[in-house]
Subunit: 477 residues, 2 copies
Amino acid sequence: MKKIDEKALIDIVGERNIKTDPSDLYVYGSDSSVHHAMPWAIVRPENTEQVQKIMTYANENLIPVITRGGGSGMCGQTVPIQGGIILDMKGMNKILEINLEDVYCRVQPGVVDDDLNLALKPYGVFYPPTPASSRIATIGGEIGNNASGVRSVKYGATRDAVLGMKVVLPNGDLASLGAHTRVEASGYQLHKLMVGSEGTLGVVVEATLSFVPIPEFRCMGVSNFNSLKDAGEAIGAIMASGATPSMLELVDSVAIKAVNKTMDLGLKEVAAALIFEADGMVKEAVDYEIEKMKKVCLQHRGEDIYSSYDPKERAKIFLGRKKLFPALSKYDDNLASTSLADDMAVPYSKMAEMAGKIHEIAKANDIVMTAYGHCGSGCMHTKILMDTKRKDQWASAKKAITQVYDYVRSVNGTTSAEHGIGLSKAESFKEEKSDSLVVLSAIKKALDPNNILNPGKLMQAPEDWVTATNLRYSVNS
Amino acid sequence: MKKIDEKALIDIVGERNIKTDPSDLYVYGSDSSVHHAMPWAIVRPENTEQVQKIMTYANENLIPVITRGGGSGMCGQTVPIQGGIILDMKGMNKILEINLEDVYCRVQPGVVDDDLNLALKPYGVFYPPTPASSRIATIGGEIGNNASGVRSVKYGATRDAVLGMKVVLPNGDLASLGAHTRVEASGYQLHKLMVGSEGTLGVVVEATLSFVPIPEFRCMGVSNFNSLKDAGEAIGAIMASGATPSMLELVDSVAIKAVNKTMDLGLKEVAAALIFEADGMVKEAVDYEIEKMKKVCLQHRGEDIYSSYDPKERAKIFLGRKKLFPALSKYDDNLASTSLADDMAVPYSKMAEMAGKIHEIAKANDIVMTAYGHCGSGCMHTKILMDTKRKDQWASAKKAITQVYDYVRSVNGTTSAEHGIGLSKAESFKEEKSDSLVVLSAIKKALDPNNILNPGKLMQAPEDWVTATNLRYSVNS
């Protein structure tokens, strides 16, 4: 492990904001992905000036810097594959301004998504790209990933909500990007480039975000299906009908079984279920949307179709979907739920095929995969449930993932819908973006000539994700 | 004028697709801005392969290439300040695909905005970032500018509607950027970087755009105000009220006078008027929005408040706003309406001040300026009405523009809302983006090492816009 100049860092942030103890380093060496690597230090800046000084020091000494928020990234975005400093942004967690008249808020990157929405709620507004990890995920991390979530089908992704930002560049300079207005055409949309750049181009120290009014009415509906194909086709039909759902989620039989096993919800063990929502200020408009969606479900052989405005009923409908991720860990005592092939986006017309293909590929490779997600925005999630102790299962997983993403690209989809690329999805990313890799690298080099910001990710990621880093699991030889 | 190898270009596109006659060159040397410069040739490619060959040739021979659509840019974006080839994209004007199920369309860059919407209409959908120049503007040009228009307050700008694209890079390579799905988190958002890059980073040869359902109901309203301040404050109050107008426009007394003079509409000659619209699938929801907005207008001393669902009535309400731009040319026989200080964006809370400031600055500089625009998206338009034959008026205009944009920046606004930067607004752009100019230049150099794509614009623009090129006007010495 390369020595870093602890004293220099202490001079910048103070002793309380540095950790070098191996047990701390170990914890910060992982995120929610399968990857692990040891950093050299964890540094927690308190303000922009400190971030600038850290970057200046790191740039001069060619030390990698990996920006980290909640560490809930699923693909290794914050795993320090080349060592270096973990730049822990949780110390910069203030909400700086909520401007109702100008319809924006300014926040520091360490603000947790749920905390932002808690602060906005009394004003009758909310920040909509919220992912499912909102209890943990920070705004800075969401920007790095271009995160989105259950309401993105109607309200868009992070990239749509970011009006502007302040970033510290790899050389320590501070730059203001974007603006504070709804529309802006002042040259290169650098703030939009930063969104989804996974911490490789700059360190966000402040973000200007838009928000929207909290709707008066929300109505949630659910429909069971006896075939995944019917459910998938219903998704496309809903989107093509002109309906504007505020949520449109798919869960498959694997997911339903897992949820039943862990939560005793007594869900009917069907092939698939759709959960959909409409929202608005006027009940008649919401009725219109819900009826439209229910009709489409019926036309696609949906059963047990039900909807409710009541908050308790809505929570009940959504509970299975909400607890899905942890439930999968309990699907089978011998299987761990790993963040692999965790997300992808495909056109609506390919949604049914994609779900079916996931099951088919899983079966062929002797692993279990589940298909669920924010299908209204084209986003499909899976998890690979596997015996992580078995080396052959990792080989199977690797094969399955390659097959899944080959298929995603073949149907005009894209490697990631909302979780980003990091390390785990880099293989498919590099295939998908093969004709722009040179441009990506040129832009990276232009902003970060010394390649210190989160090196070894995206187009720089190693060929084989299984061996890219240590794995977070014990694998028998 | 440098010689270009006409034969080489004829070999690529055929003789019918090249113009070198001085009268043609003269016409293509201007856009809707005040600028003019002579290109060396106009080349009209028919397909992507031809674009690639042209770029390869130009890159090898260090010949500037200026991509042009409808030539309706207002700031000199398509004026060939360093000479070179005008790449006329009007020959690539096919709509390639309208995919209702997957909710996107694919178009060539030369498709005129109105033609796209004409093609979408039978399917009950529309492309919403449409600017006022939609009869002329092409999709490619709109992408270059990050154009927006009357409905952007609700539906967003071009950057929000572009899902992906194919671009020819300065070296002739073809790259596919972005995706075809609602959400996408596959690394650097290069397609979003291309939007608003004003033809300096790549040549768009295909665009994947989203569309939205045409609402069943549209209701337009209007309110007069006896002070610009009241109207401006009503705008902010409407946006803060949680209303979601599909249109929110301001016209001031200068604009009203001009319209009355040319069109005999008999508009009441008040200080300002607001025109607002709500749309949706359910009438009760639209009623709700319109009533909300009317109430706010009343609270801000609005008068003659009126609204209608009827298409004829709505057209009548909007007619003054629609014909404003040409009407300004007739405001005074001695004054020409020039595209200067043509747009800016300011926070809603500064809208009233901005409008007042424009009048104040105009008066102080002995020119006439009007304040109007898509104020619901924060966009303020002006025009400078001046005697273009008088040299001192150009000096006055220059001073006024500097003052206007100094003020825009001082209230946290941004140099352009939707018209872009080009040459005319470069002075303010460079001030506004002073801390990221190095990054902008680094990105430009990374993609275009030989600086052939639309050189001399944005951060490369000359210091003084008045003398940057010849002017499109005869100015007495």
